[in-house]
């Protein structure tokens, strides 16, 4: 890093504590270098300026998915978002659509409840790896950060919408069921608040930090649902095999 005077950036940080009447924004001036990330700056604020600032973080390299937040309105992982190039005034807010527990911390329970019925297929239990799979097992790429749900314009108003991550998980299950029943998965997502609630804004795929492309997965689910329905209508299938 250069020995010159570091560039200063003004962080406008969303603050809220249980019991407060309304949230407020606090401003902190922070020095930044070319590699300084939003998370670096926030941890610096907590260490040197305001130890009460609460935020989530863990891995520091876009692997754990805990430091999702909105920076200048856009959903990002703070740990890989450099401040250089974001302007002299940067607004930092918690993810949208989830209850704020404190400052930049949101309650992720709703996100994980949506993911629940998928059985979280994204982490592959190695013992269950099917023989036809490549010999190496690997984690799938979703890091459960919740950026997609925060950015989704449908989730912005519909609390029951399954949301991109859960639907992407369902799509993953259809691709490779690993013992799951594809018909059950399809029945689960074929709902007015499931795959059909999506309005093709592709915001989830835009903000996904892991390249999961949830929107593509949702469209794949819909193609599959339509194909099944059309072939039933054409009499190619017997009656619906649902209870």
């Amino acid at each position: 890093m250069s020995e010159d005077q570091p560039r200063m950036v003004l962080l406008r940080v969303f603050r809220y504590r249980s019991g407060d009447e309304a949230p407020r924004y606090d401003e902190f001036r922070v020095p930044i270098g070319p590699r300084t990330t939003v998370l670096d700056a926030l941890l610096g604020v907590r260490r040197l300026q305001d130890p009460t600032l609460t935020l989530r973080h863990s891995c520091l390299h876009a692997s754990c998915g805990t430091c999702g937040m909105r920076v200048n309105g856009r959903e990002v992982l703070a740990c890989v978002t450099r401040l250089d190039g974001l302007g002299d005034r940067v607004v930092v807010e918690p993810l949208a659509g989830a209850p704020v527990v404190g400052d930049l911390v949101v309650d992720m329970e709703g996100f994980y409840r949506r993911l629940g019925p998928s059985g979280r297929p994204l982490v592959r239990a190695s013992e269950q790896a099917a023989p036809e799979l490549p010999d190496l097992e690997r984690f799938e790429d979703c890091i459960e950060c919740g950026l997609c749900l925060s950015a989704c314009p449908v989730a912005a108003t519909d609390p029951r919408y399954l949301g991109p991550a859960a639907l992407a998980a369902a799509g993953r299950l259809l691709e490779e069921p690993r013992g799951a029943d594809p018909a059950a998965v399809l029945g689960w997502v074929d709902d007015a608040h499931g795959a059909w609630r999506c309005h093709v804004a592709f915001e989830c795929s835009e903000v996904c930090p892991a390249g999961v492309e949830p929107a593509g997965a949702i469209m794949g689910l819909r193609r599959r649902l339509l194909r099944d329905r059309l072939s039933r209508l054409a009499g190619l299938h017997d009656r619906e095999a649902r209870p």
Binding site: R70, G73, A201, E203, R223
Partner: protein, 130 residues
């Protein structure tokens, strides 16, 4: 942990459809589709009410027609055609992509729909005012 905290902040509200920060083209297409859709439904009923004037005979209708030929109404007509073009052409994109077709091309489709909307609007404006 203390309670469930603040639900209102960044919570669920249609106003979030209109928060421009950080959003991409797809969200604007969605918002525009919503607004034009609702606008067109409203226009459907307005249209039915206007057409009901036909029940009141030739004088009433022809008098109304004279009013509608004023420039301000002609401008609204162009707006109507634009609304129809936006909803129809973006709707076609949504129908394709939303059915799992041409998903990888969704951005190109959006651009194409935008260009076509522009052309339709241009033609409508020229046809109306020229």
């Amino acid at each position: 942990m203390t309670g469930k905290g603040l639900r209102a902040v960044g919570g669920r509200h249609p106003s979030r459809w209109l928060d421009p920060r950080g959003r991409h083209l797809g969200t604007w297409a969605f918002v525009l589709n919503r607004l034009t859709g609702l606008g067109l439904v409203a226009y459907l009923y307005l249209h039915l009410i206007v057409l009901s004037t036909l029940l009141r005979g030739p004088e009433a209708w022809d008098g109304l027609v004279a009013v509608f030929r004023r420039p301000v109404f002609l401008a609204l007509d162009v707006l109507l055609v634009l609304g129809l073009a936006v909803h129809g052409l973006n709707g076609l994109r949504v129908a394709l992509v939303g059915s799992g077709l041409l998903v990888d091309r969704h951005k190109a489709l959006l651009v194409a729909a935008g260009v076509l909307v522009g052309l339709v609007g241009l033609v409508a404006a020229v046809r109306t005012f020229a």
